[in-house]
């Protein structure tokens, strides 16, 4: 939804368009575009087949969409719901906008229904809400990292999803989690290594102090991250029905170069290991 080209880089396919591209057998990818979505909408619902004639219309409409509340969002979310309704795919994964925007996106049909009293768009909000609010069909997977702000935002997002939309969270995914380096007994040894630094230097040279520091720093980072995830877990357990039974799925820090198909398959493997092998019955899933 928030196309900055990151998805195209992940699949290494050049540019993605509104028209889906098959990036692997059985896997298609597309980039949301409000104007294309409007074009499709007009063709399907208002039965304006002459693409040439709606060209200038669409650009004027884009202006309106910029200022009118919910119009841009409904064009995005409407397209997704349409794909779910028409069963064009078995599963639709949405790389949604950042957490600040996702609520207004999922909430767009509700906003439209509240603000627009008559008209075609209003009549169409109900079937969208039926899809978005059905936990069997739509789930929001909230992605976070084990850091202060992302965890705080995750808590805020889970809260707002519940309060402002009818959509259900289906999982929390903690990405880039550092694996533990030492058990408790080993940690006690690490804590006292300064006492035997002379021996370490004799064996591995003076730079060994840097190597030990690196381990301590990594462990400290891991511990801080774990504390944030504990905070998230504690909040989820005390949140009542908001997130009490949600799983936290972890994806380890891969220390790999930024992006591309290689890291995508590594993350996919990590997710496969973590997730229940039973396929979920959902047809529409989102990522926020």
């Amino acid at each position: 939804m928030d196309a900055k080209g990151a998805l195209a880089t992940a699949f290494d396919v050049g540019e993605l368009t509104f028209e889906p591209t098959e990036v692997a057998p059985g896997l298609s990818a597309m980039a949301m575009n409000t104007e294309d979505s409007l074009r499709e909408y007009l063709r399907l619902f208002v039965r304006i087949p002459l693409l040439g004639r709606i060209g200038p219309l669409a650009s004027t409409f884009d202006f309106v969409a910029d200022a009118a509340p919910g119009v841009k969002e409904i064009l995005g979310v409407g397209k997704l719901c349409w794909e779910v309704r028409e069963r064009h795919y078995d599963l639709i994964v949405v790389d949604a906008e950042a957490s600040g925007h996702i609520v207004s996106q999922i909430g767009a049909p509700k906003v439209i229904a509240d603000l627009v009293q008559v008209g075609l768009v209003r009549d169409q909000t109900q079937w969208m809400l039926d899809i978005l609010d059905d936990p069997q069909r739509t789930g929001v997977a909230v992605v976070t990292t084990p850091e202060e702000m992302p965890v705080t935002e995750t808590i805020g997002l889970l809260d707002r999803l519940r309060a402002e939309t009818g959509a259900h969270a289906s999982a929390v995914i903690a990405n880039r989690v550092l694996p533990a380096m030492f058990n408790r007994r080993e940690q006690a040894v690490v804590d006292r290594l300064d006492d035997v630094m002379d021996h370490l230097v004799d064996a591995a040279g003076p730079a060994v102090a840097t190597v030990v520091d690196a381990a301590r720093l990594t462990e400290e980072r891991r511990r801080t991250g774990a504390e944030h995830l504990d905070r998230l877990r504690a909040w989820m357990h005390s949140s009542g029905e908001v997130a009490d039974d949600l799983p936290i799925v972890t994806v380890p820090e891969l220390f790999s170069r930024g992006s591309g198909p290689r890291i995508v398959s590594l993350v996919a493997e990590a997710l496969t290991d973590e997730l229940d092998p039973d396929p979920m019955p959902a047809t529409g899933r989102r990522r926020g």
Partner: protein
């Protein structure tokens, strides 16, 4: 290493920008403390929606646009020696818009009609980067009042870093735009314009004429405030280019944020805005990327299961097996961290080319959640 002190002493406004999640708010607060440590001045840090713990650390419990002074006793308790005053304010978009409307409305009737319009809240919350614009507007307001020697603004996190720079101009453009003209054409006369007739028919059918009318009503009122808004936006624009203003770009040395930081730094220069410094936050020690360290890790990996483990275990009085496992882990896991450190050094060098001053802040143990933590961060910033 007085680079930061000089920057904070020579400017009256510092705008802290960068992508979300890089510690921008924390750096902005620390810059404020750094300035007050060095100067006997009144310093204001204006922030947007900080993490609650940081708000508590700053003594910010109530949301509001009115600046609050951090109690000097709290600094003393935290062991932070400030010579000046540190004030903080938290940007409240809704209250900010209300203030704008009250200021620019030509009369009480327009003001009340705008504030009561059903679309007011919904529209102002989202259109033409209103959040960014409000941050700039508030800055202008504070500067114009002259209550502070230095104002540091933690700019709102934005998807596109440029939106903060372009916000005033977009506001000006909006008032002259086709969109506003279209929105404010009386509903009936639209239908008589032959060229646009098909469009209105479609728009009516899809959105409903009532909704379009609500939008039109709102923008007709809004247009009445054009003069005030445009004049103000121009002043805000000028302030951003003023020699008394400088930007500080905050980033981590990860791929996406540093890419964004480079883009932002270049854009600032292109627009004739002053880039005072880049702050590289949460940086790994440069020594981790050294060849000596990686050679040492390789040697340690080999020695881990040999005599070294026996000696170390004996000296510490712990099991040899545990010791060997610790040494092996330390040695083999080093490569991952070293690789990250090497990448960071490379990005750091790229950023250093773009700014007159590049400050590195080491990854600090834990998160900063009190004044003492902010004080130590300020120390890191001042020492470069």
């Amino acid at each position: 290493m007085a680079e930061l002190d000089n920057l904070l002493a020579s400017r009256e406004m510092v705008l802290v920008a960068g992508s979300g999640g890089v510690g921008k708010t924390t750096i902005a607060a620390a810059l404020g403390i750094a300035a007050a440590e060095r100067q006997k001045a009144r310093v204001l840090v204006m922030t947007v929606d900080p993490a609650r713990r940081l708000a508590t650390a700053l003594g910010l419990e109530e949301f509001g646009n009115a600046p609050v002074r951090i109690d000097p006793a709290e600094f003393a308790d935290a062991g932070v020696k400030v010579r000046g005053e540190v004030w903080v304010a938290m940007l409240d978009t809704k209250a900010g818009w209300d203030e704008l409307i009250m200021r620019h409305a030509p009369d009480a009737a327009t003001r009340d009609a705008v504030l009561a319009n059903p679309l007011y809240e919904n529209i102002t919350r989202r259109f033409v980067h209103s959040h960014e614009y409000l941050a700039m507007e508030q800055l202008h307001d504070l500067h114009a009042r002259g209550d502070f020697d230095l104002v540091i603004v933690d700019t709102p996190p934005s998807r596109n870093a440029l939106s903060i720079l372009d916000a005033p101009n977009r506001m000006i453009e909006f008032f002259g735009s086709r969109l506003l003209r279209w929105l404010t054409v009386p509903y009936r006369s639209r239908l008589f314009t032959v060229a646009s007739k098909p469009f209105y028919q479609v728009a009516d059918r899809v959105l409903g004429s009532r909704f379009l009318q609500d939008i039109a009503d709102f923008f007709v009122l809004f247009q009445a405030m054009e003069r005030g808004f445009v004049r103000r936006a121009k002043e805000v624009e000028a302030l951003m280019r003023d020699p008394r203003t400088a930007f500080v770009v905050v980033t981590t040395l990860e791929t996406a944020p540093s890419y964004e930081a480079r883009f932002l730094a270049r854009s600032l220069v292109e627009r004739g805005m002053a880039l005072g410094a880049i702050v590289a936050n949460r940086v790994l020690p440069a020594a981790l990327a050294s060849t000596a360290a990686s050679d040492s890790a390789a040697t340690l990996a080999e020695a881990a299961d040999g005599d070294l483990a026996t000696t170390v275990a004996g000296e510490l009085g712990v099991a040899r097996k545990t010791t060997a496992s610790v040494l092996r882990q330390i040695a083999t896991r080093f490569d991952d961290v070293a690789l990250v450190a090497a990448r960071e050094s490379d990005r750091r060098a790229e950023l250093a080319d773009l700014a007159p001053v590049l400050l590195s802040v080491p990854w600090l143990a834990g998160d900063i959640h009190d004044l003492a933590g902010l004080g130590s961060l300020a120390g890191h910033l001042r020492n470069g």
